[in-house]
Symmetry: C2
Subunit: 293 residues, 2 copies
């Protein structure tokens, strides 16, 4: 592929995204696949990657820069965590591979010993965000299956915390007794549940069964929105030390990020959201430039 200088890879637990990039970090081609880490053995990675990119490769060695769970112990090759405080995506490992047509570098995740926590992938989005706003100080929230709240200070990740709200929502809405009472979406029901739990967060767990009971007795048709509002409000209450007195930046897109924006609105904070993929590419591009020095 003409002008392709390197390949960017975001390889997570369930999804794989690959971009052919020019030297300026512009996308020439994109691949999306479901070949996530969860379904792969360690020996599968090179084969899977080649199945998607071999058509792009030439006689020259093309640098491949990857981030995400691909660098975990269960991934292709373990890229040891950087420790907070640390610049985002400042650390990476070069991996020996069999094929001579590409080189591979995997970005390290970030860990925190005090208040133990880990991230893999988000550090690259944060790095990409800081490329555009190098003087940013404050809080970044990255909603997802495992949401991250990250405090940036002096250009570094100072501390962060993960909430597994998305995963809990998935289990309760699909596998618990509440699955019988999901009904249809309603912003009003979401907001009401958010306010109820935000104002009395000690009720977060003990109030969940009322979603089922209210539906059984009164045919409440918005259990899914009440569940979502309750869980996200509980996350906001527990993360108050991150966002209070701040104007956080949201990284992400789609319905989930809209709900976090709704939550912030209820707290009188107008919060902007940035799409994650361009930030991932920008973060990987910075690593590419370093690798290519």
């Amino acid at each position: 592929m003409k002008n392709m200088k390197w390949i960017a890879v975001d390889w997570g637990t369930s999804k794989l995204r690959i971009w052919a990039m020019d030297e300026f970090g512009q996308v020439l081609a994109e691949v999306r696949a479901d070949d996530g880490m969860a379904g792969l053995n360690q020996n599968d990675y090179e084969k899977v990657l080649l199945s998607h990119i071999s058509g792009w490769l030439t006689d020259e060695v093309t640098p491949v820069i990857a981030c995400g769970m691909v660098g975990s112990r269960q991934g292709w090759f373990e890229a040891p965590y950087a420790k907070v405080p640390t610049k985002a995506a400042a650390k990476y490992v070069n991996v020996d591979i069999a094929d001579r047509r590409f080189s591979l570098s995997i970005v390290s995740g970030v860990m925190q010993s005090h208040k133990a926590d880990v991230m893999r992938g988000e550090e690259t989005q944060i790095s990409g965000f800081l490329v555009g706003q190098p003087n940013f100080e404050g809080v970044i929230c990255l909603p997802g299956t495992h949401s991250k709240w990250v405090q940036i200070e002096a250009g570094e990740i100072k501390q962060f915390q993960t909430a597994m709200t998305g995963e809990i929502f998935g289990l309760l809405s699909q596998k618990s007794v509440l699955r019988h009472s999901q009904g249809s979406w309603s912003d009003e029901a979401f907001k009401q549940a958010f306010e109820d739990i935000y104002n009395a967060p000690e009720n977060a767990l003990s109030s969940l069964f009322s979603i089922r009971a209210q539906d059984l007795l009164n045919g409440d048709g918005h259990g899914v929105a009440r569940l979502s509002g309750s869980l996200i409000a509980s996350e906001f209450a527990g993360m108050k030390h991150y966002w209070q007195g701040q104007t956080p930046v949201l990284i992400g897109a789609g319905e989930l990020v809209r709900l976090y924006q709704l939550g912030f609105e209820l707290l009188d904070l107008e919060v902007k959201a940035l799409r994650a993929a361009p930030l991932t590419m920008a973060g990987l591009h910075r690593v590419y430039e370093e690798v290519n020095l």
Copy 2:
């Protein structure tokens, strides 16, 4: 079976227990089976019950008194809820059945419109408890997949609330990312997690991922106890309006009830636990006496 006057049945979502009873409410024989409601169609119930009791039946009509999910809409026959405030297990329905060797009465569950909630089965345990302590006023806690907290006043169920803590624990410990970090039990880890969350219940959900991270980074081997302590503490925090200023009675047995006792101990409350099965039989016996009048 000589001296058998009636049959007591506790038919829940996953379990079926049947007792052959004499006229004084003493047990002559017992059956335990996994024929819970979850695996049955409406037409199966009579067949399943007969498969267990036909050997006990005679030419005389034996009264069968049943409680639990067998009386739900998805059960054998819907026994409409009694509404709070109500005496426990004061309402039942007589069901027409094909077989002439037994009669069937199903105890109604209890519902609450304001702060919507429902119970089916626990009302019979409560009724049995009140047979022995008719002047009891205060709070009864019945730990389980769906725990119930019940306020008794003037011999009636005044109000109650359900927490689906047990179900949430099951899902998170078996189906979430925390399943990789369950480790082994530790009372100390349970107590620490209980105190952490009880004192800051707004962290109940947002702190759960730390169980995974702490195990990944430090090899903490007691995730199961930390998860259990966190969730039960969250329930206690949300149910404070029930137990505060009270000396609750626990109904139940086994490890789960021991953990609720541990929780109460940490709150400086010494709480007695009563086994559920004898109370269920006593509650069903009271209904038998009424049916048999």
